[in-house]
Symmetry: D2
Subunit: 369 residues, 4 copies
């Protein structure tokens, strides 16, 4: 076997609270996860997914505790940790641990390929603006190189964790006039949007010259079909995880993507899964469902206030953020097909798919040869 | 045509706010709704669906305003008005107006049959207890007679609006010791549960002697497969709407029911629709979808804290009531199949289906002969 | 007694739900309220005080029901009904009914004077912009004339009910670009702010030429010391109630105002009450408290993120709107002094007092001569 | 100076997020806090203060990180860490660090005395029941001995952190029937109540024989005037901190307590402060306010649904927990007197003071001799 060939391993594991890393620890002890091979950990944590969601930082602190026992602090910083808050509806909090190892067994190429990059910290004034777009685009390109992907069309998903503004940061930046917005909840949207447009630029979906500060968060006709961005209070730069297919990677895992045009649009996902060889009439029975390793999707309330011509109330609800409404609903749409609830549904899809829709990635396991 | 034969008409209409009855008014003016033929109006309103949801009372007051222009006050009280608060996720607020008219056109029997009954007011001490069970069972039997249904197995859904306790009512009753619970949110669950057990008794699903005050809200193995109960602050008795199939009714509308065993369990509904002659692979395309006149379903968070073995966080979320989480999620599960969002998803399924699941009724239109 | 002399009567009455007008009805039946003399009804209702607060519309519909029994529809429209949602903390929902009658008894001038004006409806594009400022300023001047107040310094409070944008209205206006903001919650702030600046212009606190669309919601150094504005979904124009002191009015009631510089700033209110002859060391005992007929105050979270140098978390809380936090807290500050909880604390004080503070008006009863 | 004499030091310090221990770290580095002398850290963190408030666990994890750099793990467990979630209204998140050192300077006795005790873990079935009462009473007695307090009347406050039930723990215990309640939010109240009754037993306020499982959470006439209990998901035993006055302690700090009879009842606190030599007419000016080292108080919504005869809506609000309402309101009541917002207002006062009221402790600094 080609000694340069790599293989991705992906583990989807339950968490009973944001600091519960026991399921990961158990696999490490059993030799099924090699901490030094871990390139990224995604976490769906049970906070509100909005500004004051500290479950994300708590989960990251807990992961660093765990992995810190196996490596030097410098190596720890290398692991991309993307926490997405919000397990509305029946969504189940979980970890997705992604490893990169030398390939073993039969050669199965192309296969799931991974690349990560962590940008430098942004200044508060850069958040939600072109400076962020440019820096993210540059980071995505670096992560593609690392993943051994040269053609942007082989990139199926780019998961990004990006910063937000707090009242404190706005003040530090010199007040409301200095920043893209002083509304902290709104800053999450602008940061996600700028990150997504950075992905679109890197993947050749949009030309950077077509963008400007004012288009961010505003011209929703501009979007990436493969970006998924989460904003969190616990970082000031971006952590970028590129996932795609590459001949430089082997193994049983494959990835595909689909675009939901609105919050109900399940058929494109059904079709993408079918293309990966995973299908069934109606809801997936257990044996089919188990070949679906991970589902990653973005959800949002359409700014039009409607879905397929019917009014929704998500944007007018001052008790529950529209991002929470959207996650719970899209979770149901997906669960109705897949048949389980460990789904990485992330809220806030600004510039990530069309208004009210969102990109979806599916990591599947090939059926045994 | 048999002059004794009746026909049910069902209109699903949008509302832009709880006091927006304009869509109903338009059909009345066009002669498509006869106010004197209206037996019930269901409303899915955009409140929180919990204790302090005044959108239900506001909608009822608005409906009474409207219909009051066409009839005497006494006749107004005859119309069963069941408002269910909560349009989480992409759910769309809507009215379902049900009319009973002399049958016209070709005879198509059996067809959708309707019966209503309004009980007397309960005392606060009766809410959530056997007194409520007995009175509801009696009311269901009366509504069945009115619907021309003698065999309980022809009843496909019993929609009930029942009261709840407020701090004020608990005080009036003499304090916490006098009532089933002093926790107002919990009182909604006990009232829904007692109503559902009343339905189960009337339909012969459970023997009344097997029940007791302590079983209500507690022994979840006891349930009706066809009850749907909503609690609201705006009434002190129960409004009961029985829907089923009867040879005494004719017309293009039919009804069937399915039982969701958990919040993801969409396949029984797919099958029931198929039995009504409404089916498609994947999500329903527009022409199929339009034959689904109304979907009525109960949603709740399983008290086990799990769905298909995966932990959910609905019961531990102190920011959002579990009923709101469950409605938004189940709405997504249904919308993924049906392809639209005017779905009557009602929260709190105590004794309405098994823990975490719930009954579902579908009113469909026969394809043109 | 001068037959041209008028007298204001003010009744503060409890409500058990937004549709409970029974306390008003009782006084009408007892001849203590003359429906034809009512010029305004303020209501503190138990909704969330934000976009989807339907308790305001429900209360107005219920008031119109009640008063409609005593007058022609045209006269009904003359009564200014300002509902303010949100009874956070121990705040108690209540009505404040204001009547204007011919003066009786001993002449006591100057006394509390009332004037009302209802503007025409605004277009969605006007909300939160200079068009609203100008129309409100004009309306305040008309209400002053009605109140018999010529000197703006005799105006102690201007209570305004103004409209907001919903997703529906934004769409009707042609989308996000056409309106001041597409964020519905934010539209409430801009509408309140534009109304308050209209008051400031009318009272000579700010020169209209110093204002512009961009200053609204932005330059917080511009504010009125006597404006109190509430936004509600149930109207599209402004209802304006001017309260002040005038020699053309007689009677036992007087009014004064104070400016809270921040959310804790109770001493100016203590001083204003003392100037009205109402004072006590510590919290007011019952006999003092009963001379405080009504307390009207605006509350908001300071945009600085701090109060007296200490960080607050109101702007970073994505579960509870900062307006709800601010109302509950300021209610406590006031209740600690006054000793009761029927306080008209209204949220969102944009351009109403300095950042984080707000105007306060107190209607007191002179001690018996 | 007597070498056996001890001195308490108390530092009130800001936190910018639950993991921000920098203010403590700075004082440690400056030699103003000796980590080995720290007996307890109280933290007012910015979560919802309810079941899914992970800011408490996050803060504890962060404190352990910090102090772990200065001591052995075993010594770390000795520090009592009581986090109370919820900074509603203008409340400011803060730490209160309590140290016990050998006394220095002039002898000033009696002075503030501290004692801590950590109980063993409880089984889920013990939570909210007599087993918890007994174990807490025993722990309080041990902490009193440690504080050098023999007469219960010298105890002015007992701060306790106690566990709660989650859906997971209920399941582990064998289901709803095995535990005191399966309602997780309600379990917080029962645990706080059982802890408070334990304090009452230890301080001789109530005879243990007068108590039973059924009285817990039910007979609100039974209460301690000096207990303050917070429930958190992050522990399964109780951490007990006793504060009082003792001749075995010297120094400038003193402590007193007051009982609020309802949520507005500020005068008893004004009087207690006055007894400590801290007073001013109206709100405290800066120099007075700075002598108030810490204010600790319990807040709750009265179960009667009323405060001084006026209805409140806290128990009927299904969007915001009544504990959040009560904290924000009582914070305002206190801030109106004290003039700042770093107040340790803790929610849920079951058996801690009368219904709707709560105990309050004030740590003050003697004026310079």
């Amino acid at each position: 076997m080609d000694p340069l060939l790599r293989e991705a391993r992906v583990h989807r594991l339950p968490m009973s609270s944001p600091d519960d890393t026991s399921a990961i620890e158990t696999l490490v002890e059993q030799g099924k996860i090699d901490p030094k091979a871990v390139v990224a950990v995604l976490g769906k944590t049970e906070g509100n997914g909005c500004v004051n969601d500290f479950t994300r930082g708590y989960a990251v602190q807990s992961l660093r505790f765990l992995f810190g026992r196996y490596m030097e602090p410098a190596d720890l910083d290398r692991i991309c940790m993307v926490m997405s808050g919000g397990t509305e509806g029946a969504l189940s909090p979980h970890w997705i641990v992604l490893e990169a190892l030398p390939a073993t067994g039969v050669t199965q190429t192309p296969a799931l390929a991974l690349g990560v990059h962590v940008t430098e910290d942004f200044a508060p004034v850069e958040i939600g603006r072109m400076a962020q777009v440019t820096k993210v685009a540059d980071g995505v390109r670096k992560a593609m190189v690392q993943a051994g992907i040269s053609d942007p069309k082989d990139v199926h998903f780019v998961q990004i964790k990006c910063p937000l503004l707090t009242a404190e940061r706005v003040r530090a930046a010199g007040g409301a006039h200095a920043v893209a917005t002083a509304d902290t909840l709104r800053s999450m949207g602008l940061s996600r949007g700028a990150s997504a447009l950075g992905v679109a630029v890197a993947l050749g979906e949009i030309d950077e010259t077509a963008l400007s500060d004012t288009a961010i968060g505003d011209d929703l006709s501009l979007y990436s079909t493969r970006a998924s961005c989460s904003a969190g209070v616990e970082l000031m730069g971006c952590e970028i995880l590129v996932m795609g297919m590459s001949d430089m990677w082997s193994g049983p895992l494959t990835i595909g993507h689909a675009l939901m045009r609105d919050a109900l649009d399940i058929d494109p996902i059904r079709e993408t899964l079918s293309n990966l060889g995973i299908s069934a009439p109606g809801q997936f029975p257990e044996e089919t469902r188990e070949r679906v390793t991970a589902v990653l999707v973005k959800a949002e309330a359409s700014k039009s206030g409607h879905a397929r011509g019917f009014r929704h109330t998500m944007l007018d609800d001052s008790d529950i953020s529209s991002t929470r409404h959207a996650r719970g609903f899209v979770a149901g749409v997906l669960a109705g097909l897949i048949g389980q609830t460990e789904l990485f549904v992330s809220g806030g899809a600004e510039h990530q798919g069309p208004d009210g829709g969102g990109p979806c990635a599916v990591i599947g396991r090939r059926s045994d040869p």
